[in-house]
Amino acid sequence: MSDRWRSLLEKICIPVGALLAALVIFGLFCGLAGANPLGVYYSISRAAFGSWSSFQNTLIQASPLMLSALCTALPARLGLVIIGNEGALVLGGLAAVAGGLTLGGWGLPTPGVQLGMAFAGMAAGGIWIAIVGALRHYRAVNETISSLLMNYIAIALLNHMVNGPMKDPSSLNKPSSYPLPEMHMLGNLPGSRVHYGLVLGLVACGLAYFLIQRTTFGFAARTAGGNVRAARVAGLPVGKLTLAICFLGGACAGLAGMVEVAAVHGRANESLNANYGYGGVLVAFIARHNPIAASLVALLLGGILASGGILQRSHGLPDATVMVFQGIVFLSVLYSDSLYGRLPIFKERGVQPSPPVAVATPV
């Protein structure tokens, strides 16, 4: 087995092993809570991937996760830990509704309105996270803490707008904005209930991978992420890179918000704040910030999220069970990071470290 294959095998086996370990720990947890672990596994797999109908639910859950994961994965290449996905998503959704209602009011045709909504969502999310990047670069404010604080501010803004300036007076129980007209909503893929957000998510993940791995911009970002000082010496514009990559990441999360309002909710309200942001953080970390891997992990996590309802109904487990599971998976995957290069199976064989050659020092 060549070293290349061995290293690839290590990169696949360790995360998969971490997921399996998390499943076992979660099973023990469910057992302690009085549910049959095997029954729980069975329910999750059936609800996630059991039939075409349930797999469609998984796909619907996975699309916003793919987009919002990029909000963590892209800045991570620059060495930034940004978890403002929830805030960017919420504001993206809010801006998309505002844009859609305005453009629709002007009588634009549907493609124009949808394009406008996408751009409004991406701009709002992008600027929101670019602020985090600017604070990091110009004021050295810890980006993790500032992005998390900005989540709360964004949710407050959402509540303010749907309870005040943008409120539809007929939405009494759950204050909401005016609904988007049916004709401007994002449609479904032919022959399914899955909306076009899935396509947007897959395309965004593919583009992000290309951007990071195959372009000069991506190379510059990865260099700066490896060593900021070296990047500065090499003349890379670290500030501009930070702002640009934060904007792109935020734009993806904002697009996730647009997809949620334009394909699922049809209006902006509290339902936007549905933890897709934190799910996206988890996806990005499990995928080790690789956009292609993120699209696959999003499918997996989407399946788990889709099974939340059935765990509640058939096993009597509270809805927070899914959150506990996410936490266990996250912790287990983080621990697995420390195993790279430590497991004997994946060690390079036959390569002995050459002993230092004694050289006679000329006196």
Binding site: A140, N142, H160
Partner: protein, 309 residues
């Protein structure tokens, strides 16, 4: 509403009352985080610890009828989460910030999971200490009844200052946090010192949670903390890793938190949600003002945020 009788004077009074009531969680969590960060590790997961503490305190108080037992159990629950964080965050190549995010999800998930049955029932609350024997005005009386946990925090702050400055153990923690290599050369176990600091810090954060559910707001729900644990972590940076300044900063944050409800009580509710966001905005502003890319912050532990070898 009580403040109606006092008119506009109700606003500053309500803010002062809210400060005294609401700053205990900030204080206890920030003291815990201060202790943790002095040893060179960050624990962002204290948000989850706070929720876990709030839930377990409420549940134990409801089940046994003893709020003080609830406070102890809250601290122990915090220590349990601290053990996980302390062990995981010290593995090679594992980033303590990432572990913190995971612990927020895990801790709050666990708290919501176990706390589901306790959302409805009402549990016995902690007794209050009244400082208002001299006044007859009911608003003042209610404003000046103080949580015993707040008093505890106020007492711990100077004690912790003394601990860092003058005690052998405090010196050990500072040595590990400022220069792990030198500490290692002295034969100190970095792992044990950091583990002890993280676990003790999590104990304080758990008690902070008890103050949420057993004093103010005095109930258990999934929205009880809403980021207070996280703000407390940011507050430690603002307080320059100094326990006594953590006390002042906590009072400021408790006050900011009281602005929204205080204005609502006199009928200003147009910007209710935005005023409720003021603690977050204040935290952000303070971080923007106090941080600088040109110098490291005075008081910052030397090895904070650096990768483990």
């Amino acid at each position: 509403m009580a403040s109606e009788a006092l008119g506009w004077w109700g606003v500053p009074l309500a803010i002062i009352a809210g400060t005294l009531r609401g700053s205990a969680p900030f204080l206890l969590v920030s003291l815990g985080e201060c202790l943790t960060e002095k040893s060179g590790k960050i624990n962002l997961g204290l948000e989850g610890t706070l929720l876990m503490g709030a839930m377990s305190a409420y549940a134990v108080s409801y089940l046994t009828g003893s709020p003080w037992l609830g406070v102890i159990v809250a601290g122990v629950a915090g220590m349990f989460l601290g053990l996980i964080h302390g062990w995981l965050a010290q593995q090679p190549r594992v980033n303590d910030v990432a572990v913190g995010i995971a612990m927020i999800i895990f801790g709050s998930g666990l708290a919501f999971f176990l706390g589901k049955p306790f959302i409805q029932p009402s549990a016995p609350q902690l007794p209050t200490l009244s400082l208002a024997g001299w006044t007859q005005i009911p608003q003042l009386e209610s404003a000046l009844s103080i949580s015993p946990l707040f008093i505890l925090g106020v007492a711990i702050a100077p004690l912790m200052q003394w601990f860092f400055r003058s005690s052998r153990w405090g010196l050990l923690i500072r040595a590990v946090g400022d220069s792990p290599d030198a500490a290692k050369a002295m034969g100190i176990s970095i792992f044990k010192v950091r583990m002890a600091s993280i676990v003790a810090g999590s104990f304080l954060a758990g008690i902070g949670g008890a103050s949420l559910s057993l004093f103010y707001p005095g109930s258990w729900s999934e929205r009880i903390s809403s980021g207070q644990g996280l703000m407390a972590v940011a507050l430690v940076i603002f307080a320059r890793w100094n326990p006594v300044q953590c006390l002042y900063a906590s009072l400021l944050f408790g006050g900011a938190q009281a602005i929204g409800p205080a204005l609502q009580s006199v009928g200003i509710d147009a910007y209710y949600y935005l005023f409720n966001a003021s603690p977050y905005i204040l935290t952000l502003l303070i971080m923007v003002i106090t941080c600088s890319p040109k110098r490291t912050l005075t008081g910052a532990p030397g090895s904070l945020g650096q990768a483990q070898e």
